[in-house]
C-alpha cells in the first residue's frame, strides 16, 4: 500500500499543494511559539549571566526570604578575608544623570573591580580608569552622544539627604556595551567603586559579591566558609553559588511572565491548527470521493478494507511529515530573521536564537498527528467503498447532508448552555464565566455549522443573481453540504475571532473613553506652580485670560478656559468660576457644564444642593449640584453664578490668600500619548512653568487607547494566520471541486456556456462560501465581542457598544477578494479545457 500511496502523491502532487501549505503554516506557528520561549530564555541566560561569568563563586541572599539581610561593605570585607578567596568585588548598579551630547540622560554606573580578573566590563579602546576622576563609557553610547576618549562628562546625582552633587569626570576609555537587560538600554559608565556607590543614592547595598578563588582552593569548602562568614556578619539567609547557579536563579524571576506569553501564543497556535485540521479533512474527503472508482477497482482486485484505509492514512502520514517538516524549517527561518532584527535594537542586543529539540519534535509530531487525525474520517469513508462501485458509472448525485443526530443534539445543548452561561457572565460582569460560556457556545455553533451554513449559502445564492451561471454557482456551492460546511467553518472560526477582538476592543475603548470623559472632565489642567524664582514677593498673581488665549494658539490645543477662584466650598476647598461658553468648549462631558445656579462637584458629594462662601463675604443661595465621577475636583460654577463673589478683591489680594487661577485645556481629538506629552511640554514652555504643573486625563486616556490598539494589532495579526489558512482551504476546496466537475464543465461549455461565464460561475461559488462565512463570522464576532467586553469591564463601567464598521468591512472585503483570487487558478484551468477533452476525461 505504500507504493500505491506514493504513486498517488506523485501523480496528484498538485492536489496536495494547498494542504501542505496549510499544515506547514499551522506547524510553523506552533514551533515558532515554542522557539520564542526558548530563545528568550537563552537570550536572558546569556545576558543576565554576563556579570557573573568572571567569578568563581557568587555570594548573595536567598530570594523570596523576607529579611534575608542586605549585602554591604562589611560583607565584602568578610568574604575577602576568607582563606581561598584571592579577591572579591561587589556587583551593583548606580544610576545618575549624565550631561553629554545635546542634553541630560539617565545613565547606569557600574563599579570597576579592583581585581582585573573579576571585571565584567571589557575594555575596547583607551585605558582603565586610574582614579575617581575617570570613567569608561560604552562604545555605542559614546558614538551616539559624540563622546571620545579624553572628553569630559558631568555626572550628577543626589546624596542620601537630597543634596544634589555633580562630578566632573574624564573618559579614560571605551568599553564593549553590556548585554545585561537591566543595563543595555542606558549609557553605561564604569567607574571606581566609590563613585558608583555614591550614585546608589542611599544605603550601599550590593546585589551580589563576586569571588575569585585561589588556585587549588576547594570551591565547595570556600562556599561553605563564605556562607558562614556572611551569616556571622548579619545576613540571615546567605547563599553562595556558582555563576551558572546564580544565573538560573535570576532567570526564574523572569520566566513567570514568559510562560504566560507562551501560553497565550499557544492558544492562537491551537486555533490555527484546528483550522488547518478542517482544511486537511476536507482535502482528503474530496480526494477519496474523487478516487471512489479507483478504490473500488482495488477492492475488486482483492484489496481488503483495511488496506484501503491504510493507503489513505499512509498518504496522510507522508503529507503530514513533509508539511510539518517544512513548517519547522519555516519557523526556524522566521525566528532567525526576528532574532537578527531584534538583535540590532540596542536594548535587546543580547537576543540569540534557540531551537530546542522540543520545538522541532512538537512541530513534527503535532503537525503529523493532526494531519492523520483529520484524515481519519475520510479514510473510513474510503474503506466503505463497495467493489461494485468500480463497475457502476460514477455517482453524480449530490451528496446527502446527514448531520448525525448526536451532533445536532450535542451542538444544540452546548449552544444553549454556553449562551446562557455567556449571558450570565455578561450580566454579572464575570470574565471567566463569560469566557467559558463563549467557548462552549461557539463549540456548539461549530457542531451545528453543517445545519445552518448550507441553507445560509443557498439563501444568499438566491439573492446572488438570476442568470444561469449565478444559479449554477449557488447550486454548486451547496451540492456537497458537508464539504461546504467544513470549508466555511474554517473561515468562520477565524473571522469570528478577529471580529470579536475588533468589536471587543472598540467597545472597551468607547466605554473607557466615556468613563474617563466623566471621570476627567478636562483633557489637561495647568495648576499654579507658585512664584517664579527671584520674583518680588507679592507680585505673583497666577494665570490670566491672556495666558488662556496664548495657549489656544499652540498647535494641538483645541480650546482653553481660565478658572478663577471665587469662593470657599463646603469642605474648605476653593470654588472656581469660568465663562460658561469657554467651559462648554473644554469640558469633555457636555452634561457636566454647569448652568446658572448649578455647581459641579466631585463624586463623593451626595447632597442635591450645597452652599458656598464667596470670597467677598457675600452670601450665596443654595446651588444645585452636578455630581461628576471625578474623585478630585474643585467645585466649579459659571461666571454668571459667581457674579459679585469676588467684589472688591484684586488678583493680588486673592493670590495673597493662596487663591490663584487654573487653566483647563481641551486637546485636539485623536492625539496619541507621544503627541500629548509633547503638547504638555509646549504648554509648560509657553507659560514658563515646570512640566509637572500640566496634568490631566487625556494622557491616561491616550495610554489606554494605545495599549488596546497595540493588543488588538498583535491579536489580529496572530489570528490572521488562521484566516489565511482558512482562505487556502477555500481555494483548495474549489480547485478540487473543479477537477471533480471537469466533465460537467465541459458539458456546459458544449451547451453554450462561455469561458467567461464558467470563470464567473466559479468565482461566484467561492464568493458565496467565503462571503457567507465572513458575514456570519462578523455578526457572531460582534455579538461575542460586545458580551465579552461586558463580562470583562462591565463591573466598573456601563458598556458603550461601539462597532468598528470600517474594520469589519475590511475583514469582509479581504475574505471576498481572497475568495475571488482563490477562484482564479481553478477557473482558468476549467476554462482552458476544450469541451472535447473534458468530455473524454474519465
Amino acid at each position: 500500500m505504500l507504493g500505491l500511496a506514493l504513486a498517488n502523491l506523485r501523480t496528484h502532487a498538485r492536489r496536495f499543494i494547498a494542504v501542505v501549505l496549510a499544515v506547514m503554516i499551522g506547524t510553523a506557528f506552533l514551533s515558532a511559539t515554542l522557539m520564542v520561549n526558548a530563545s528568550t530564555t537563552a537570550s536572558l541566560e546569556r545576558s543576565v549571566g554576563e556579570a557573573y561569568q568572571p567569578a568563581g563563586l557568587v555570594a548573595g541572599t536567598e530570594p523570596g526570604v523576607p529579611d534575608a539581610g542586605q549585602l554591604g561593605p562589611a560583607q565584602l570585607d568578610a568574604v575577602q578575608a576568607l582563606d581561598g578567596v584571592a579577591a572579591a568585588s561587589p556587583l551593583f548598579r548606580g544610576f545618575g544623570r549624565l550631561q553629554a551630547g545635546d542634553g541630560e540622560h539617565n545613565a547606569v554606573v557600574l563599579p570597576l573591580a579592583d581585581d582585573a580578573a573579576l571585571r565584567g566590563t571589557v575594555l575596547a579602546t583607551g585605558d582603565w580608569p586610574g582614579d575617581d576622576g575617570s570613567v569608561l563609557l560604552d562604545e555605542r553610547s559614546a558614538g551616539r552622544l559624540g563622546v571620545g576618549v579624553g572628553d569630559r562628562l558631568v555626572l550628577s546625582g543626589a546624596d542620601p539627604d537630597g543634596t544634589p552633587f555633580s562630578l566632573d569626570v574624564a573618559v579614560a576609555g571605551l568599553s564593549v556595551p553590556s548585554s545585561d537587560p537591566f543595563v543595555s538600554g542606558f549609557p553605561q559608565l564604569t567607574a571606581a567603586p566609590a563613585v558608583a556607590e555614591r550614585l546608589l543614592g542611599g544605603d550601599t547595598v550590593y546585589q551580589a559579591l563576586l569571588m575569585r578563588l585561589d588556585a587549588g582552593a576547594d570551591p565547595v569548602g570556600v562556599a561553605a566558609a563564605a556562607a558562614k562568614a556572611l551569616g556571622d556578619s548579619g545576613i540571615a539567609a546567605p547563599i553562595v553559588q556558582t555563576p551558572a547557579e546564580r544565573t538560573t536563579q535570576d532567570l526564574a524571576g523572569f520566566t513567570g511572565g514568559q510562560d504566560q506569553l507562551t501560553i497565550v501564543l499557544l492558544v492562537f497556535a491551537l486555533v490555527a491548527l484546528v483550522v488547518t485540521g478542517l482544511v486537511v479533512m476536507n482535502t482528503f474527503a474530496v480526494l477519496v470521493a474523487q478516487r471512489t472508482r479507483e478504490l473500488a477497482l482495488l477492492r475488486t482486485l482483492g484489496a481488503v478494507k483495511q488496506q484501503i484505509r491504510r493507503s489513505v492514512l499512509v498518504e496522510a502520514l507522508l503529507v503530514g511529515l513533509v508539511a510539518s517538516g517544512l513548517g519547522v524549517l519555516l519557523a526556524i527561518g522566521v525566528m532567525a530573521g526576528l532574532v537578527a532584527y531584534v538583535g540590532t535594537l540596542p536594548e535587546a542586543s543580547f537576543a540569540v536564537l534557540a531551537v530546542p529539540a522540543g520545538a522541532v519534535l512538537a512541530g513534527l509530531g503535532v503537525g503529523t498527528l493532526m494531519t492523520l487525525t483529520a484524515a481519519w474520517l475520510p479514510a473510513r469513508r474510503a474503506m466503505r467503498v463497495a467493489p461494485l462501485a468500480a463497475l457502476r458509472p460514477a455517482e453524480e448525485a449530490t451528496a446527502g447532508n446527514r448531520a448525525g443526530r448526536f451532533r445536532i443534539v450535542a451542538g444544540t445543548v452546548l449552544l444553549l448552555g454556553g449562551g446562557a452561561l455567556l449571558a450570565l457572565g455578561a450580566a454579572a460582569a464575570q470574565l471567566l464565566v463569560g469566557f467559558a460560556g463563549g467557548l462552549v457556545s461557539f463549540t456548539g455553533l461549530l457542531l451545528l455549522a453543517s445545519v445552518f451554513l448550507p441553507p445560509a449559502v443557498r439563501l444568499c445564492g438566491l439573492v446572488g443573481g438570476r442568470g444561469v451561471p449565478a444559479r449554477l454557482a449557488s447550486l454548486n456551492a451547496v451540492r456537497n453540504p458537508a464539504r461546504t460546511s467544513t470549508t466555511a467553518t474554517a473561515l468562520l472560526i477565524g473571522v469570528t475571532l478577529v471580529a470579536m477582538m475588533m468589536v471587543g476592543a472598540q467597545t472597551t475603548k468607547a466605554t473607557l473613553e466615556a468613563e474617563l470623559g466623566s471621570e476627567y472632565l478636562v483633557d489637561l489642567t495647568v495648576y499654579d506652580s507658585g512664584p517664579v524664582d527671584g520674583a518680588a514677593p507679592g507680585t505673583h498673581t497666577g494665570y490670566t485670560a491672556a495666558d488662556a488665549a496664548a495657549l489656544e494658539g499652540i498647535d494641538g490645543v483645541a480650546s482653553a478656559a481660565l478658572l478663577v477662584p471665587v469662593a470657599h466650598g463646603p469642605t474648605g476647598t476653593p470654588v472656581y468660576a469660568a465663562d460658561e461658553a469657554a467651559l462648554a468648549a473644554v469640558v469633555n462631558d457636555p452634561a457636566m457644564v454647569p448652568g446658572p445656579g448649578e455647581i459641579v462637584v466631585p463624586q463623593h458629594v451626595e447632597e442635591s444642593t450645597v452652599t458656598v462662601e464667596p470670597l467677598s463675604g457675600a452670601v450665596s443661595g443654595p446651588l444645585a449640584t452636578l455630581t461628576t465621577r471625578a474623585n478630585y475636583l474643585d467645585p466649579l460654577v459659571t461666571s454668571g453664578t459667581a457674579a459679585g463673589w469676588t467684589a472688591g478683591l484684586g488678583a493680588a489680594e486673592l493670590a495673597a490668600q493662596g487663591m490663584t487661577p487654573l487653566l483647563w485645556l481641551k486637546a485636539d481629538p485623536g492625539l496619541d500619548a507621544a503627541a500629548l506629552t509633547e503638547l504638555a511640554a509646549a504648554v509648560s514652555a509657553q507659560l514658563g512653568v515646570p512640566d509637572y504643573a500640566v496634568s490631566g486625563g487625556a494622557l491616561e486616556r491616550a495610554m489606554f487607547t494605545q495599549v488596546i490598539d497595540t493588543l488588538l494589532l498583535v491579536v489580529s495579526g496572530l489570528l490572521a494566520v488562521a484566516v489565511f489558512i482558512a482562505l487556502i482551504g477555500v481555494a483548495n476546496t474549489l480547485s478540487l471541486s473543479v477537477l471533480e466537475r471537469t466533465r460537467e464543465s465541459s458539458l456546459l461549455r458544449a451547451l453554450g456556456l462561455t469561458r467567461g461565464q464558467l470563470r464567473g460561475m466559479l468565482a461566484l461559488e467561492a464568493v458565496l462560501i467565503a462571503g457567507v462565512a465572513a458575514v456570519l463570522g462578523a455578526a457572531l464576532g460582534a455579538g461575542y465581542g460586545i458580551l465579552g467586553a461586558q463580562s470583562a469591564i462591565g463591573s466598573f463601567a456601563s458598556i458603550h457598544v461601539s462597532v468598528p464598521w470600517a474594520q469589519l468591512a475590511l475583514v469582509l472585503a479581504v475574505a471576498v477578494l481572497a475568495a475571488l483570487a482563490a477562484s482564479v487558478v481553478p477557473g482558468r484551468r476549467a476554462a482552458r479545457l476544450s469541451p472535447v477533452e473534458g468530455l473524454a476525461t474519465e
Partner: protein, 251 residues
Amino acid sequence: MTITDTSLPTSTAAVAARGLTKHYGSGDTRVEALRGVDVAFERGRFTAIMGPSGSGKSTLMHCLAGLDTATSGEILIAGQDITRLDDNQLTRLRRDTIGFVFQSFNLVPTLTAEQNIVLPLQLAGRRPDAEWLATVVDTLGLGDRLGHKPHELSGGQQQRVAVARALLTRPEVVFGDEPTGNLDTRTGAEVLTLLKASARDMGQTIIMVTHDPVAAGYADEVLLMRDGEIVGRLQDPTPENVTAALAGLGA
C-alpha cells in the same frame, strides 16, 4: 447494397465540410484523424456516421459541432464558416444552432430535468416557447419527470431529457455521440425512434455517430468512414446491409 459517390452540392446543406483535415501531435507521433473530408448533410435528414474504431468518426463529429478545431478546411453550418469563429462565437453558435445528445453524462446533476431541458435557452438569455416545450415534453413522455434530478431518472429517461434539450432550441442540427451506447436494446430503440420521428415530423437535421448497425438502421442514410476518410454512403440502411458494409470496410 450500393456504395455511392460522396460528393454532393454543399450550398443547400444544413452542415457541410470541405477539405477538412485534423492532425494530432507532430513528427513520429503525428496522427492524421481526418484526411481531407468533403461532406454535406441535407436539411431534415437523419444521418448515421459509422466506421471502425479510429476511423475518425468522432473527430469528424466534434469538428462539425464546433467542439474541436480542425487543422484545415472549412465547415459550414447554415452557410456560415465556423472555422473562422473565436471561442466565444463558437460557444454562442453551439448554444443557438446546435443540439447535443452524448453517450453518457448528458445532464447537469444539480439541475432538475426541466432545468436541464431549458438550459441552452437560458444560457442564451431566451425564454422557452411554452407551447413548443409542452410538445417536446409530451412527445418524449417526460411530463411527470420534469421535477426530478438526473440521479432520480433511469438511463433511458436521462437520454430522453437530453433529446428534449437538443430539440427545444430548434437547432440547425442535432449531433448524437453514441446516444444509445449506454442503454438497453428496448430503451435504445425508444430513443432512436424519437430521433427518427423528429427528423421526419419536425424536419430536424440529425447527425449521429454510432458503432451499432441496429441503431444505424434507424437513419435515413449511413456514412462509412475508414482511416480519416469517407469511403461510402448507404441509403435507406438496414441492420443487415450496414453490417455487411462494415465487414467490407474491415476487410
